[in-house]
């Protein structure tokens, strides 16, 4: 409870032989916080898993179209983003390490660095989407509508539809992540997150790794599928 600022003392249960057992309360349950957050991340896995299933379904139906559409994406920008996100996962992890070893100032620095990398990621993403738009590939443009002279084949429409949906939702998670990190900094500054009470920092680091993890599959699926020897 918010007003229970005094330290929580766990209760002791006594069995019939007089042995004492510490009762786990909901207060101060570090492992419970971690377990809860992992369970939350599993819901993300199911969400993106379902989207990957949709993607795979259409990949099976329209193999050649998918490979052709994939080869039209900008692999350089996508690659830059992959590396940016990879490094941001490192800074996030190091930030948590610094926090746990007592270096609060260093931890904050690392969180700022992570945020900077996240913003760079979004910037590159925006550039990429702008380029796509200029080439006539965007939701609502004629190329992705049916029944006109610019219409692309079914497979390509579906590929780009899923591309904008999934990278868009991934980008949305990055934005949420930036918000979470700002909140974390606020909590650190107000002394709510400390080297001893770092579960919030721990969970946000987990969240960031999950965002990275999703990209680890989103990137090759969309960008690299069309890079091989088989072409449309």
């Amino acid at each position: 409870m918010a007003h229970d600022s005094h330290e929580y003392i766990p209760e002791i249960a006594v069995d019939r032989n007089g042995n004492e057992h510490v009762v786990q309360g909901w207060q101060g349950d570090n492992y419970g916080g971690k377990l809860g957050f992992w369970l939350f991340m599993l819901t993300e896995v199911m969400m993106f898993g379902a989207m990957f299933m949709v993607l795979t379904y259409y990949f099976t139906l329209h193999h050649a179209d998918f490979i052709k559409a994939s080869s039209e994406l900008d692999r350089t920008l996508g690659g830059i983003n992959t590396v940016v996100l990879l490094i941001s996962a490192l800074t996030m992890g190091l930030g948590l390490l610094k926090m746990r070893s007592g270096d609060v100032k260093g931890a904050k620095l690392m969180i700022w660095a992570t945020m900077l990398l996240a913003v760079i990621f979004l910037g590159v993403k925006a550039l990429e989407w702008t380029n796509d738009y200029k080439e006539g590939i965007f939701l609502g443009l004629q190329g992705l509508q049916s029944g006109n002279e610019f219409s692309k084949p079914f497979g390509e429409i579906l590929f780009f539809g899923m591309y904008f949906t999934m990278t868009g939702l991934h980008g949305f998670h990055i934005i949420i992540g930036i918000g979470l990190m700002l909140w974390l900094l606020k909590r650190i500054n107000s002394g709510k997150v400390t080297p001893e009470h770092n579960i919030l920092h721990f969970n946000i680091a987990l969240y960031w790794d999950l965002v990275h993890l999703i990209w680890v599959f989103v990137f090759p699926y969309f960008y690299m599928t069309g890079a091989g020897a088989i072409h449309g």
């Binding site: 409870m1 918010a2 007003h3 209760e11 249960a13 006594v14 069995d15 019939r16 057992h21 510490v22 009762v23 786990q24 309360g25 909901w26 349950d29 492992y31 419970g32 377990l35 809860g36 369970l39 939350f40 599993l42 819901t43 993300e44 199911m46 969400m47 993106f48 898993g49 379902a50 989207m51 299933m53 949709v54 379904y57 259409y58 139906l61 329209h62 939701l139 609502g140 992705l144 509508q145 049916s146 029944g147 084949p153 079914f154 497979g155 429409i157 579906l158 539809g161 899923m162 904008f164 949906t165 939702l169």
Partner: protein
């Protein structure tokens, strides 16, 4: 006399003086459970009203009271409320909240403030869902509603083309889904972390097992429908193409994704209900439950297998024959653990000292209605039979025998069982039993004719019908009238119980599980005075008397 949780509470933030604000901001699991119950049953009656309107309309062929379009909206309203607002949060939100922490000897759930947030997320979802009800206009002296007319399943491509307010229904279902996920998450962590010392998984009461299995479904199945609804919204407003055949999208994929959630969702509804049954049967047979382990593990396996059977909703939708065969085969498997539970319950009663109190009556009644509902489900799991019976009243009758005659009846059983725990008072048992008999008769009169009508080909969701089906619709109508009267009488009896009931002490039923060993009734704010050490099984009776007894400090004295 110590204070009960009706007198004091913890709040999510602040220290409000007014009782009203204390309720609104409470993080106490018991108060949150009661608030869920109040809201849910309010909506329950709205949905009952929608259903009754349809029954009036269907009394005779042709148009009587409402036109075809309004009829479509009426069954959508009925479905959306009953499924998303009432039965999915259902037993977990009410009894999972009120009773589950008490049963495992916890002071609250693992994340009490998240629990508070979840409740309000649910309320927001309800408001969004029903907001479009108020978006009506009056043309030619008639009300024209703008509520979604797609049915609660929102099948593409119709839901993407209709002009009615599907968007609010989709957004609402998403928000309610999130509330459901968070409830499940909270319960999973609670059950893993906050069990009293000594209570391992096989010393938990079976209701907790039901809630545990349910929570896994809430957690892992709900995100799939969440993303499906988002994809449908993106399809509708941005044209991403994946459910739109003109762009190569496959509407059947929407059905796949929808039922990946919505089929496990029916197990999400029934598993905690089975949990209630497993509490009531031993308590009123005064006998230890038969086959504790098989009941516990059957809950887990129903949840597990339940994930893998969604395709039996798609037998007529254009699936490959191979997939149909696999799904039909897997669906039969669900009947096995369910059957195991039934035999265990019956075996528990054998040679027991059966007390026919109201909760037990409800449980026994459900054994009949759910057996019909469950076995008729097996008949339509067969591909050949399903081709004939899909989308007929037969399926509707099956669904309502399983959901209303299974889940809701057991929900009522739970209400009668835990009523004295929650309020510290007892309702008038004679009246409550009478209400049961009225409801039971009304229920069977209402739904059984539909099996026959459906078998002869009466399709579901139709506004009109051929004259030869009139007799079934009229029997159903009178059943509905009896059923609704029973409902009103039952709730009247319960409300009178809250207002004027006699104080009943902490354990009026002579039950054994931990929630009946509280220091006072209604329970105090932080539950048990001391957390007990659990070195006993949940349902130990000896010659019809509970074995385990505690002193006021929760030390065993037997």
């Amino acid at each position: 006399m110590s204070k009960s949780y009706f007198d004091e509470t913890h709040c999510a933030f602040g220290h409000p003086k007014s009782t009203f604000m204390q309720w609104m901001l409470t993080v106490d699991h018991k108060r949150i459970g009661i608030m869920y119950a109040v809201v849910m049953f309010t909506f329950f009656f709205v949905a009952v009203a929608a259903a009754l309107t349809m029954r009036f309309e269907l009394f005779a062929p042709g148009q009587q009271f409402i036109d075809a379009h309004t009829f479509n909206q009426a069954f959508t309203l009925h479905g959306v409320i009953m499924v998303f607002l009432f039965i999915i949060p259902g037993i977990p939100a009410v009894f999972g909240n009120i009773v589950m922490p008490l049963m495992i000897g916890a002071k609250d759930v693992s994340f009490p403030r998240l629990n508070w947030f979840t409740f309000w997320l649910y309320i927001i979802g309800c408001i969004v869902a029903l907001s479009s009800l108020f978006n009506f206009n009056i043309a030619d002296g008639k009300l024209v509603f703008n509520f979604a007319d797609t049915g609660w399943t929102f099948y593409a491509p119709y839901s993407l083309n209709t002009d009615t307010n599907v968007v609010t229904a989709l957004v609402a279902a998403f928000i309610l889904g999130m509330a459901s996920i968070l409830t499940g998450l909270n319960f999973l962590v609670t059950i893993h972390r906050l069990r009293a010392p000594g209570m391992d998984f096989f010393k938990m009461p079976l209701f907790v097992w039901g809630i545990y299995a349910t929570a896994w479904i809430q957690l892992l199945a709900t995100p799939v429908v969440g993303i499906t609804l988002i994809l449908a919204l993106l399809e509708k407003y941005f044209g991403i193409g994946i459910f739109d055949p003109s762009k190569g999208g496959d509407p059947v994929l929407f059905q796949h994704l929808f039922w990946i959630y919505s089929h496990p969702a029916v197990y999400l509804m029934i598993l905690p209900a089975f949990g209630i049954m497993s509490e009531i049967i031993p308590a009123f047979s005064r006998r230890e439950i038969f086959g504790y382990h098989t009941i516990a593990l059957s809950s887990a396996s129903i949840a597990g297998v339940g994930y893998l059977v969604w395709g039996h909703h798609l037998f007529t939708s254009g699936m490959s024959d191979t997939a149909k065969t696999i799904f039909s085969f897997l669906t039969f498997f669900v009947a096995i653990p369910t059957g195991v539970k039934f035999y265990d319950w019956v075996a528990t009663m054998y040679k027991g000292k059966i007390v026919l109190a109201t909760p037990m009556l409800w449980a026994l009644g459900t054994m009949i209605t759910f057996a019909i509902g469950g076995l008729s489900g097996v008949t339509i799991a067969m591909i050949g039979a399903d081709i004939h019976l899909q989308d007929t009243y037969y399926t509707i009758a099956h669904f309502h025998y399983a959901m209303l005659g299974g889940v809701v009846f057991l929900f009522f059983a739970g209400i009668h069982y835990w009523f004295p725990l929650v309020f510290g008072k007892m309702y008038n048992e004679t009246r409550a039993k009478l209400a049961f008999y009225i409801l039971f008769i009304g229920f069977n009169l209402l739904w059984f004719p539909m099996f026959i009508a459906g078998y002869y080909g009466m399709p579901r969701r139709y506004f009109d019908y051929l004259p030869e089906f009139q007799i079934y619709h009229q029997i159903s109508f009178w059943g509905a009238i009896i059923f609704v009267s029973g409902l009103i009488f039952m709730f009247y009896t319960l409300i009178q119980g809250i207002r004027k009931g006699k104080p009943c002490g902490v354990n009026p039923w002579n039950a054994t599980t931990l929630e009946w060993h509280l220091p006072s009734s209604p329970p105090p704010l932080e539950n048990h005075t001391k957390v007990p050490y659990v070195d006993f099984r949940p349902y130990e009776y000896y010659h019809g008397q509970p074995v385990v007894k505690f002193d006021e400090n929760m030390k065993r004295i037997d």
